[in-house]
């Protein structure tokens, strides 16, 4: 029987891991370190390799190439039942023939733990469902099953808890509530959580660190704020929230900023936020950073003129504008409804302006639409 609790804890290290299924490479030369105790999210569209990565960590798939370590222990070829790793499965995968109590006790019994009853009761209390111990899984609601799946995994106090789209089957309201609870439980039990999701908002709400995956590779890794404010690729810029990416060319540079010409107008990009290596650049700006104004209003910073409002939607806290620029590109602008902006209608001519430090520059060879037209399940 596996001795999970005494196995060394520590950081999870994936070194040059590749997983191929026939001709298809699901995970491509992935190197990743997840620090002990962190809440780590693997974020990406379906088919990006995030679930395969998780399954390799769990031992349900074996890497074609590469190694996986927890602390100093090589677990690359260990069987799932020999690893100090537990998983919360996407559809929960509770044992339908066992009571909730026995479901939670399953891992403890396999490991021959002494105080099963005490531990099961404690964890059921943690997920606030101690009264359901004698029920069968089918008698529980989706949210309750989700918590039991979580309890069944964390009761073993694994070195690593893997969550495979654990909230995917829940409705929006319950999902928000569970996000907060999961985060709280993670802080409470202090385990390393590796969370796989395609929901960028979910990843940002919960994780300390997010790795954005695309086509088997990690596009960028960092804190939610880092990824959002300073995306390094068009995929990240579009997949995490929305971005306006405008093609341009660097015309001059000084020590801390570059001036970029976009379709005849000039904007500034801080050098520290510019990933472009050559002259060709994608100028990026988040919609909520842009101020919209009538063409004759005073404005400063980066300014783009000649826009025409083509669509206005009021969403309560903000108003979302689509502005068509002279070069036939639609830009998104989110304005707070704080009375600071005049009410605009489709057809109104406008100028757009923003504070230059908010601008980010991406390499001009990138696809403007990468990551924005990904099919998202559920």
């Amino acid at each position: 029987m596996a001795d999970a609790s005494s196995s060394s804890h520590g950081d999870l290290k994936l070194t040059r891991v590749t997983k191929s299924f026939g001709d298809f490479t699901a995970v491509d030369d992935l190197t990743l370190t997840i620090p002990e105790g962190s809440f780590f999210a693997l974020l990406g569209p379906s088919g990006c390799g995030k679930t395969t990565t998780l399954r390799m960590i769990a031992g349900l798939e074996e890497p074609t190439v590469g190694s996986i370590y927890i602390g100093e222990t090589d677990i690359t070829t260990k069987k799932p039942y020999q690893r100090p790793v537990n998983t919360v499965f996407q559809n929960y995968a509770l044992f339908p023939h066992l009571s909730i109590y026995e479901n939670v006790a399953f891992g403890l019994r396999r490991r021959g733990v002494k105080d099963v009853k005490e531990q099961v009761e404690k964890v059921l209390k943690l997920v606030e469902l101690p009264h359901l111990a004698e029920r069968k899984p089918t008698q529980l609601s989706g949210g309750q099953q989700q918590r039991i799946a979580l309890a069944r995994a964390i009761v073993n106090r694994p070195a690593l808890l893997l969550l495979d789209e654990p909230l995917g089957a829940l409705d929006l309201k319950l999902r928000r509530q569970m996000q907060i609870e999961l985060k709280w439980i993670q802080t409470e039990v202090g385990l390393t959580f590796v969370h796989v999701t395609h929901d960028q908002e979910e990843a940002m709400t919960m994780a300390d660190t997010i790795a954005v995956m695309n086509e088997g590779r990690i596009e960028q890794m960092g804190s939610p704020a880092e990824l959002y404010e300073s995306p390094e690729t068009a995929f990240v810029a579009n997949f995490l929230g929305q971005s306006n990416l405008i093609r341009g060319e660097v015309v001059s540079s000084d020590s801390d900023q570059s001036v970029v010409e976009v379709h005849g107008q000039k904007v500034a990009v801080l050098k520290s936020r510019n990933r472009a290596t050559g002259k060709s650049i994608l100028v990026g700006i988040r919609p909520e950073k842009i101020r919209i104004s009538l063409p004759d209003d005073p404005r400063n910073g980066n300014v783009l003129t000649g826009g025409i409002v083509s669509d206005v939607s009021f969403v309560g806290v903000s108003t979302q504008y689509v502005v068509e620029m002279p070069w036939k590109q639609d830009l998104m602008v989110f304005e707070q409804n704080d009375g600071g902006t005049p009410t605009l209608r489709p057809g109104d001519p406008v100028s757009l302006s923003w504070n230059p430090p908010f601008t980010f520059g991406l390499d001009g060879s990138e696809d403007v639409n990468a990551g924005s037209e990904v099919d998202e399940p559920a």
Binding site: L60, Y81, H97, R110, R111
Partner: protein, 297 residues
């Protein structure tokens, strides 16, 4: 159960609106069952307590409500009763032992060959039951390949034969009822979500423990259905004993057969039929109760 009740309630909702439709749909089936099951059973029950007409011809009986027919019949056929249940039990256990790995492999490991394998399981039904049983006589006979092979390996003696034996009867029954065991087993194994098996693996259970604690319990509905579908016809079977057996391997089915058609002793045959039915019914009830699969079905 809760699910069933909700279905019934919903059906009730429809009856109030569409009145007679459910009854119309039931009618042909009910008529069929009444004509070809209920009436013959009543007739059979009547026959079972008749006695011969004094001085009448062979096969002439009159109703005298002689329930002692049952005791007489039982006393005459006691060894055959015992043998029927013994052989049926052995055939069921053998079929389970053979079918489980087969169904498991088809359900979890067959990949794209799944449908072909399922067709192969059902394929024997394309020929007659009787012919297949006669074929076993050939297989186990002196000219077959089994006997010489076993003899050359000194597993059986030079003078031992396999036909006309209890072994042949049980083997024949096992073979004949194998699909009835395999298909329900396959159906319930196939329904198991492979992620529950992965979850078990993930929760420190190795392959064997996962099988014992998860796979097998979850396949119980198939085990129960398969064993019933094998045991019930096997207990009443007489073809295998008639073709593959000897006078010492006769089963209750053979006794009923010969009482009806050879000796023309209708009351005894009817009484034996009823006792067989009752015995199977009681055993099956106890079995289902004890296996506790209600909530899995």
């Amino acid at each position: 159960m809760a699910y069933l009740q909700s279905v019934v309630t919903r059906a009730g909702y429809f009856t109030s609106k569409k009145g007679r439709l459910p009854y119309l749909l039931l009618f042909p089936g009910m008529l069929w069952l009444f004509t070809f099951f209920v009436l013959p059973i009543i007739n059979l029950a009547g026959t079972s307590t008749q006695t011969p007409v004094a001085g009448g011809e062979t096969g002439q009986y009159v109703q005298t409500f002689r329930f002692a027919n049952y005791i007489d019949a039982f006393n005459q056929a006691r060894p055959q009763f015992a043998r029927s249940f013994l052989y049926a039990t052995l055939a069921t256990l053998l079929a389970l032992a053979i079918s489980y790995p087969l169904a498991y492999a088809i359900a979890f490991r067959s990949g794209r060959f799944k449908n072909i394998l399922l067709v192969l399981v059902v394929a024997p039904f394309f020929t007659s039951f009787l012919l297949r049983t006669v074929a076993w006589k050939q297989i186990l006979g002196e000219q077959g390949f089994v006997v010489p092979a076993l003899r050359s390996m000194h597993i059986i003696g030079q003078n031992t034969s396999l036909t006309a034996s209890a072994l042949a009867v049980v083997t024949g029954m096992t073979y004949n009822f194998l699909p009835f065991m395999t298909l329900p087993l396959y159906a319930s194994l196939e329904r198991i979500d492979p992620r529950t098996l992965e979850a078990s693996n993930d929760l420190y259970a190795n392959g064997i423990t996962t099988f014992r604690k998860v796979t097998f319990p979850l396949s119980m509905p198939g085990v129960v259905a398969g064993t019933l579908l094998t045991f019930i016809p096997a207990a009443g079977d007489y073809v295998n004993a008639a073709i593959l057996g000897n006078p010492n391997t006769t089963m209750i089915g053979n006794v009923i057969d010969s009482r009806f058609f050879n000796i023309v002793d209708y009351p005894t045959a009817a009484a034996l039929s009823f006792m067989l039915m009752a015995a199977i019914l009681i055993l099956v009830t106890i079995y289902i109760r004890r296996s506790g699969t209600d909530e899995l079905v």
